[in-house]
């Protein structure tokens, strides 16, 4: 599904290397988690994957289902099946949430050469998927993320994911700023999207999200590289001993 090879990335403005050779393969149907201390490059990896400006890829490749996505614009990557649930979802005053969702769904369909979704089918789908995330009609009507609480913003991200049905989902610290109940709700939404054709990359600081979204593989990232990979037990090790033990072990 997703294949990252020796990815090296500089911050465009300051010629500083942030990712120093990342290798990662996520197969369809699998959930991979990336954990790591602050500043290890986890969020940068998610931005580079989704095509945000400001980063210069100096080496390596990212392949999504046989396509080299480094050559693609963010919207082309989205149409190819990549989705990033933002750590900080952006507020967009003046753009209605529903309008936004429908425009996005149809833009992707168009890019893939598919027919636009009919208004009634769209409404039906949104209502169904929103209600399982406890997103009410009022939230759907409001401008995108404007005045949403932290939890509402994250649920709105998952709703977008549910509507766009991506193949490869990246969740960037989706648990940050969530209380336990909100986290369970978000995790439930994510779990309902798990299937054999879809890959997940869950980026998080803490093990607690992984109690609810059970990973197949856990990676530890430090100083721009994946330094250790293992099963779910690796996340527990981090939870119990912190990162320092693992980092000193690999150093």
């Amino acid at each position: 599904m997703l294949n990252i090879k020796d990815l090296r990335v500089n911050l465009e403005d300051e010629n500083k290397e942030i990712l120093k050779g990342v290798d990662l393969t996520v197969d369809a149907g699998k959930v991979h988690a990336i954990m790591g201390p602050n500043g290890s490059g986890k969020s940068t990896l998610s931005y580079v994957l989704s095509g945000k400006e400001g980063y210069e890829v100096t080496h390596g490749s990212i392949v999504l289902n046989d396509s080299d996505i480094l050559e693609m614009e963010p919207e082309e990557r989205a149409a190819a099946g990549l989705f990033l649930a933002f750590q900080y979802p952006v507020e967009i005053p003046g753009v209605g949430n529903m309008t936004f969702l429908r425009t996005a769904v149809n833009a992707q369909r168009k890019a893939r050469g598919e027919k636009e979704i009919s208004a009634t089918d769209f409404l039906k789908q949104v209502r169904e998927r929103a209600s399982s995330l406890q997103i009410d009609a009022e939230m759907l009507k409001r401008p995108v993320n404007v005045g949403f609480s932290g939890g509402e913003k994250k649920r709105n991200e998952i709703l977008q994911m549910a509507m766009l049905e991506p193949k490869m989902c990246i969740l960037d610290e989706t648990d940050s700023g969530l209380d336990v109940d909100a986290m369970k709700l978000v995790a439930k939404g994510v779990n309902s999207l798990r299937d054999n054709g879809r890959g997940f990359l869950v980026i998080t600081h803490y093990q607690r999200l992984l109690d609810h979204i059970k990973p197949d593989v856990v990676h530890i990232m430090a100083d721009g590289k994946i330094v250790k990979s293992g099963g779910p037990e690796l996340a527990l090790e981090v939870e119990n001993n912190g990162y320092s033990d693992i980092l000193s072990e690999v150093a």
Binding site: S50, G51, K52, E53, E73, P74, E75, R77, A78, A79, F83, L84, F86, P89, V90, E91, I92, P93, G94, V95, T99, F100, T103, A104, V105, A107, Q108, A111, P143, Q160, L164
Partner: protein, 425 residues
Amino acid sequence: MALEQQNFNPIENAKSQLKNHNRGWSQKSRESALIRLSSIGLPNHRDEYWKYTNPAELLTNDLHGLAVTDHEEANVFAEVDALKIIFCDGIFKPDLSDEFLSDNISINRLADKGDLHWAQNYYGALEKHSHTPVARPLAALNTATASDGVLIHVKGNIDKPILILGLQNVQAEATLHHIIKIDPGCSLTLLESGSFATKLNTVMEVFLEKGANFEHVRTQGKDHDRVAATHIFSDIKENAKFKSFTLTANGILTRNECVLNLSGDDCVAHVAGASVGDGKTFHHDDTVFITHDAVACESRQVFKKVLRNGATGVFQGKILVKEGAQKTDGYQISQSLLLDDDSQFLAKPELEIYADDVACSHGSTSGAIDEQALFYLCSRGISRNDATDMLTLAFLAEAVEEIENKNVANIIVEKISAWLSRRKN
């Protein structure tokens, strides 16, 4: 010929026009407007209120723009069931216009001379008092020389909006002067669309009696070569409500002035504008002067401009709160969205307050498109162009929301979307 054009003097031209044509009931008002104009003089780039907009183009008799002959495009409000009054190249077209048969409204034309007329005491009356503290020479010139215009007196309920449509067939200059008088408790929705002429000078004087309600929605369309100076004057009595919205795209030079006098207690005045400018030749100027001269009145100015490829936007807006105009609620916002480094927005917000119990706020901003928001939209599969259009529409929304008639507001939104998306083709 070239020399003649260089020496063209609008004041002298107005003098000879008035000498050679008797305009019937409006003659006296025209002569006094000419005297006013002679004493205040023509606008000059050095004048305080013409600092950001060079009036030279508005003062020549040189027509270099091309006529916009796409009549379908001219009528943005084709879907609205409205009573149509149609001008072509500044000349009234009775065969294209609708007939009005109602006791509740009388509609006449300025060009109908006659001797006695209900509009006699209204023609030029607001323009006359608008010159202090800021002179409006082009409005005085209009009063002196207007060739035609619509005179509307609303006396009862009318169920349809009135649409003044300005078509073009040939390169022409037009000077139109409209009078709107709305009796106590009556309402009118007035729509305006079309380019009217290559060079246009319009004045609209709006008299709102107690509890009268006026909604004005105007589009100044995609005609690239338009040179226009427009003035809207209104005197707003007790409990009356004035609303005006203008959508502008393209044009070489557009100066829209709005001068409102809130003279009755508890009245409301909202004036808004959305403009979309593309290219170095685009220059759009909104100049607003709102005087609060009564208690507990509300005024709002909402102006939004989207500028790209070297376009220029100007906003000069003033709220004057006179002594005794307590409980005034004044709001003014002017914002520009600059889509590149070449475009510029010049804003001069002013407040002058002589009462002590008022709430007035004003703000002015210039900004680029929000890159974070753009990336967010693109990451969901929306193309950069479409995402930019969505954010542009969102930026203009606060101005468009000033339109009370939701049907008309939707038409305006569709029009803006169409104009934005056509740019990409």
